[in-house]
């Protein structure tokens, strides 16, 4: 049966892509971490994982290769088991190894981390999962935490709701497809690659109120303001490299579609927008970049355009010809497709899943939140941010040796008068 909750179910269109571009050296993985106020008790965390996993059948799956497509089926293997944290976060997943688990749990001192394969869920879904896990962990350590949808904490004793496993892309796919055209190549921000399995992570902690006030002084939201700084930094970096031809700088900014298309789904339901600045048109001042990013996002983040965008992807996956190609041959096609449409037109990814809100009972026990995007298919640096309480955490993660991108980004914030505290795994 191909319905979620049955013995197997289909991947959504984003999941199909992330599974196809999976390789020995690449997996679409991201990590959320919570820095607790007390050292983590691994036994309690394991108990919490064991309690919470049956409530989230969308995470309790293994991926299998059919003749034409990958599919998910419930994973009955023991685990997943919590592990001590590692220096190199977000290593690729191997479909057949680790008992087939596509989600990992780590602990280190006061930090609890989860790593999720993107075919399972997007940041929005994973945050609900992580919040419920943290709530259950605190309960296991003797702290009462209420459950409820309004807190985003799901009750592990209740059965999963069918809506949580729906393929929201298919549900909302309309009739009209978006325009399908090749996007121009963007500046790639490639650096010297480190040996495989080295992911440099640099985190900056910023007071949220000051950041918000500063963004507001430009008339922008925090996401727009940070994206504009990132673009400014990348434009300057490109200019310092004296290229033969200046390329546009474009960001991939994922947008959570649940705000426009009501859905309970914990699976993927995002699309991306592509704010872009072309330096060949002339010099842009920083307020102009902020305005460009802001108006671009205001213009393109609307229900109709986003629906047309994901309708294109859903219809692409429904293409009869594509469906009849065996998965082994389809993977290189989709991988090439990702190179052309998902990597070349973008300089970097910037994601801000927003504020990690928790019930009042949990607040005294969590110091701050962290988010890390796994390595890209090329040695470039991606940026992710998450806020909790009055702390905005901004992570730069990538496999390049150079630190220019993050250095200039944080220096820019300091010049703007916003204090930044840095933590990095660089030696």
């Amino acid at each position: 049966m191909a319905e979620p909750g049955g013995s197997w179910y289909r991947l959504d269109s984003a999941g199909q892509l992330y599974s196809a571009i999976q390789s020995d050296r690449y997996s679409a993985i991201y990590r959320f971490s919570a820095m607790m106020t007390q050292p983590v008790d691994p036994a309690a965390l394991q108990r919490a994982v064991d309690r919470i996993m049956p409530r989230f059948p969308g995470f309790r799956v293994r991926i299998r290769r059919g003749l034409f497509w990958y599919y998910f089926e419930p994973n009955q293997a023991p685990g997943p088991f919590v592990r001590e944290d590692i220096l190199n976060p977000c290593p690729p997943v191997r479909f057949g190894q680790d008992n087939g688990w596509l989600v990992r749990f780590y602990y280190y001192r006061c930090r609890i981390s989860i790593e999720v394969f993107h075919a399972l869920s997007d940041g929005g879904g994973a945050m609900v999962f992580f919040r419920s896990l943290l709530a259950e962990y605190l309960r296991q350590t003797g702290i009462p935490v209420p459950c409820g949808r309004r807190f985003g904490v799901l009750d592990p004793d209740k059965p999963p709701r069918p809506g949580e496993l729906e393929d929201a892309y298919s549900r909302y796919a309309g009739k009209k497809k978006g325009r399908f055209g090749l996007l121009p190549r963007a500046y790639q921000n490639l650096g010297t690659p480190e040996p495989f399995y080295t992911l440099h992570v640099t985190m900056g902690f910023v007071p949220l109120d000051q950041l918000r006030a500063k963004a507001k002084s430009y008339g922008a939201s925090i996401t727009e303001y940070l994206a504009a700084i990132f673009i400014r930094v990348l434009l300057d970096k490109q200019e310092r490299e004296h290229p033969r031809r200046l390329m546009p700088v474009a960001l991939a900014i994922p947008i959570n579609l649940r705000g426009w298309f009501p859905s309970e789904t914990l699976r993927n339901f995002i699309t991306t927008v592509r704010p872009c600045i072309d330096p060949t048109l002339g010099e842009y001042t920083f307020p102009e970049i902020v305005a460009q990013v802001r108006y671009f996002m205001k213009l393109h983040i609307n229900r109709q355009e986003m629906q047309a965008d994901f309708t294109t992807k859903v219809r692409f996956a429904e293409n009869r010809l594509l469906q009849l190609i065996p998965v082994a041959l389809k993977n290189p096609v989709l991988s090439w497709n990702y190179q052309i449409l998902g990597t070349r037109p973008y300089t970097a990814t910037f994601t801000n899943p927003g504020s990690f809100d928790v019930p009042a009972e949990m607040r005294p026990h969590i110091k701050h939140m962290e988010v890390v995007l796994g390595q890209a298919t090329v040695p470039r640096t991606d940026c992710a941010s998450i806020s909790y309480g009055n702390t905005m955490e901004i992570t730069f993660a990538g496999t390049q040796k150079e630190t220019d991108t993050e250095r200039e980004f944080f220096r820019f914030l300091v010049r703007e008068g916003i204090p930044v505290k840095i933590e990095s795994d660089r030696p």
């Binding site: 190199n88 640099t202 930044v420 990095s424």
Partner: protein, 233 residues
């Protein structure tokens, strides 16, 4: 609480240098910091690569069954010619080319190249056996070894640092010229018993004539710039 004097960012209490710019943290009056565990974990973990043994076994089985079937059929059909040797040689060559890399992933490039060329050599040898010719040792093998050596030299010269298109093209053209000289040398030795420079010299000189302007263009910055301007994409 330490701050980087260049970046202005606050650093970890235990940071010896700024992770953004590498500037050392120097504070002579600072007290000896308490030795806390670092902010990030220090344990490295690597996920083992996907096992390709199953795929290798499958391919080996397919190649072996084709070989066995053809050998058996050869006993009954077309018995005068050992045509199954062609199939056997092709299967062996494909095995070395496609299956071995799946089993031995960390094989150095030179070893893989040697084995790949050896596989071609084996295939050509089987063809020479099937045709009952004596040309393998004196003609085919030397040409094959020469080609392999040139590929190796080109590979070593072009790998690693990013060479300019002009350098790469010059080296390729020159290697082709040398290869042609070698082909004529072995050809003459086999068919005439002595070496006399002939058609290969024409090809070699044509290659040199092509390479000279490329090298000049490579060495003179103004010419390079001109070429860049004319041929920009």
């Amino acid at each position: 609480m330490s701050y980087c004097v260049h970046c202005g960012v606050e650093l970890d209490e235990q940071a010896k240098r700024c992770p953004l710019c590498g500037t050392p943290v120097v504070d002579p009056s600072a007290l000896e910091p308490m030795q806390e565990a670092p902010f990030f974990a220090s344990r490295r973990e690597e996920v083992p690569p996907v096992s390709k043994t199953e795929l290798a076994l499958l391919l080996t089985g397919m190649l072996a069954s084709v070989t066995i079937c053809c050998s058996v059929v050869n006993l009954f059909v077309g018995r005068t010619v050992a045509w199954s040797l062609y199939v056997t040689g092709a299967a062996a060559m494909l095995w070395f080319w496609c299956v071995l890399p799946l089993l031995a992933r960390h094989m150095p490039v030179w070893a893989r190249l040697t084995l790949d060329v050896g596989a071609i050599g084996l295939y050509v040898y089987l063809i020479s056996l099937a045709l009952q010719g004596s040309w393998f040792m004196t003609l085919a093998l030397p040409i094959l070894i020469l080609a392999a050596l040139l590929v190796l030299v080109l590979g070593l010269a072009l790998q690693g640092r990013r060479r300019s298109l002009l350098t790469a093209a010059s080296l390729d053209i020159l290697a082709f010229g040398v290869f042609m000289l070698g082909v004529e040398y072995f050809w003459d030795r086999y068919f005439r018993g002595q070496w006399e420079l002939g058609w290969s010299m024409v090809i070699f000189l044509a290659c040199v004539a092509l390479v000279i302007p490329l090298v000049i263009m490579r060495l003179v910055p103004s010419l390079r710039e001109e070429a860049r301007r004319r041929f920009h994409r």
